[in-house]
């Protein structure tokens, strides 16, 4: 028995000590396969979700299809297909580093910790954490949550902030949005915290949208970026060029309008500050 254990441990050490293999050139990979594989979400409307007609759509997916894909095609000189895979907060970085996907395009916040493991594109959306509660709830913001049961999504930046700064709240972390929302619907928790825009999206999709409200000031900053393998400058340049092109041509704002405009899936007008923030990235 002890000998077996020693053998297994030795094996584990050997595997982990193996030198990191040569870095992947994502553009080369896409050029030879003809496929850009993105990791995205199935339950985060309107960024990436499966709609009533069972189509996998969303704002983040459109940005890839209409801005990033043409830019990558231009960089490698051939037409490509976009393939979507489900990725959740705990799986998305491993999916990237294992080459299972090439780009994460969903609702991933660009943070300094994550930047040590992956590279981020330009920020393509800007939001902050709030709370979704039943109308009439005593929770109006982050200062009212002491002793309350708060659901969050495991692996999200807001769960981390609550854990560190508001330990009096009873945090319940769920692996995905539908489970956390179900817990709120049934009263297992008093509030569900996530990025404001996602809560607004959930509210619209709820069985009785009028019964719910999104409350509180942003208690965190959540700039969304597309993540890719670290140190792949050529691929990052292609992705960024696509987004930049979108801002310059106005295509980005058309896509924004399609999802967040007055007739969009989720009306959410872009504030002048956010617009200035996005355009400042490309020096405008």
């Amino acid at each position: 028995m002890m000998r077996t254990l020693a053998l297994v441990l030795a094996l584990a050490v050997a595997v982990s000590a193996a030198p990191a293999a040569a870095q992947t050139d994502t553009l080369e990979k896409i050029k030879s396969s003809g496929v850009l594989v993105i990791g995205t979400r199935t339950g985060s409307p309107p960024f990436a979700y499966v709609n009533k007609n069972n189509e996998w759509v969303g704002f983040s997916i459109d940005l890839v299809e209409q801005l990033v894909k043409p830019s990558v095609e231009k960089a490698i000189g051939r037409s490509i297909k976009v393939e979507k895979k489900e990725s959740t907060p705990p799986t998305r970085i491993p999916l990237l580093t294992s080459n299972a996907v090439d780009l994460i395009a969903g609702t991933m916040t660009d943070t300094p910790e994550r930047r040590q493991s992956v590279d981020f594109s330009y920020t393509f959306f800007y939001t902050g954490a709030q709370f979704l509660v039943k109308k009439g709830s005593p929770i109006h913001g982050v200062n009212d949550i002491a002793g309350k049961r708060i659901a969050s999504q495991q692996g999200s930046t807001n769960a981390k902030i609550l854990r560190e700064k508001y330990p009096q709240a009873q945090l319940r972390e769920f692996p995905d949005q539908p489970a956390a929302f179900q817990a709120l619907l049934q009263g297992q928790v008093d509030a569900y915290t996530n990025d404001g825009i996602q809560l607004a999206g959930l509210k619209v999709k709820a069985p009785h949208p009028d019964e719910w409200e999104v409350v509180g000031d942003f208690y965190s900053e959540e700039p969304y970026g597309m993540a890719m393998r670290k140190g792949d400058a050529k691929f990052k340049a292609a992705v960024d060029a696509g987004l930049k092109q979108g801002w310059e041509s106005g295509k980005y704002f058309e896509i924004y309008d399609h999802w967040f405009g007055p007739k969009g899936e989720l009306p959410y007008p872009m504030s002048p500050q956010v617009k200035a923030y996005l355009l400042k990235q490309i020096g405008k």
């Binding site: 982990s16 990191a20 792949d232």
Partner: protein, 240 residues
């Protein structure tokens, strides 16, 4: 693979504390669920061999219903499905008193009880029928025959498959993270969130599960040798 290993994330910051907390929760959850599973397993395993038909049917229904639905579904059932049946005040009370932990324990215990039941039934049925008849002939009642003769022998026979099932239970306790129980796998994901170092965190989790399971297997091998009935189960495997 373009990945820089940084093992120090496992012992810097709060990681060590989280892993210990997760380990404690996993052990607590598994131990309670195991007790429930063994109790239900012995009861329904014995009932499946009982000489009264309705009791056999009840046990068969329990086993087939619970083992043929995925554990994940049972987790959701006990967490999302059962509490709404309680009155509102009771609901608030359970939600404030780790409803997710108890839902996880019951889900795991009842599910593995159904699987354990089959293990125990196979043990009982491997005992020659004449033993049961002989016990009755000595004047024991059916209940006494089970309690004093059949079960003590059957439980000795099923130590290897029982160990197997117990190890499965321990590993399956990780499914409880879907209903927000902060067990070991949950905590390894937590470390990943904070450090973005998934491979290190998962390796730590894997090694902890491995050591736990190997320890249980070792202990159970000793139990098996210690309680072996000479002549009936004589050829135990040598210590390895």
């Amino acid at each position: 693979m373009n990945y820089t290993f940084k093992w120090s994330v496992l012992w810097t910051g709060q990681s060590g504390h989280w892993l210990l907390q997760g380990l404690a929760t996993t052990l607590e959850l598994s131990a309670l669920a195991w007790l429930l599973a063994v109790a239900l397993g012995i009861l329904s395993g014995a009932l499946r061999t009982a000489p009264v038909a309705p009791l056999r049917w009840a046990a068969v229904s329990y086993v087939e219903f619970f083992r043929n639905v995925p554990l994940l579904v049972w987790m959701f059932f006990w967490y999302f499905g059962v509490p709404p049946l309680l009155p509102r005040v009771a609901q608030d009370w359970v939600f404030n008193h780790s409803a997710e932990f108890w839902a996880g324990t019951v889900a795991l215990g009842v599910y593995h009880g159904a699987r354990m039941s089959e293990v125990i039934r196979s043990g009982i049925q491997s005992i020659p029928r004449t033993q049961f008849e002989a016990s009755l002939a000595t004047g024991l009642t059916t209940l006494q025959a089970y309690r004093l003769v059949i079960l003590p022998v059957a439980l000795r026979l099923i130590v290897p498959p029982g160990t197997n099932e117990s190890l499965n239970l321990l590993k399956n306790s990780s499914v409880a993270l879907t209903i927000s129980v902060a067990e070991l796998t949950f905590q390894t994901r937590q470390i990943e969130t904070y450090t973005a170092k998934a491979i290190e965190a998962l390796t730590a989790g894997t090694l902890i599960y491995l050591v736990l399971c190997l320890s249980i297997a070792t202990i159970m091998a000793r139990v098996e040798r210690h309680y072996a009935i000479p002549g009936l189960i004589s050829r135990t495997t040598p210590a390895g």
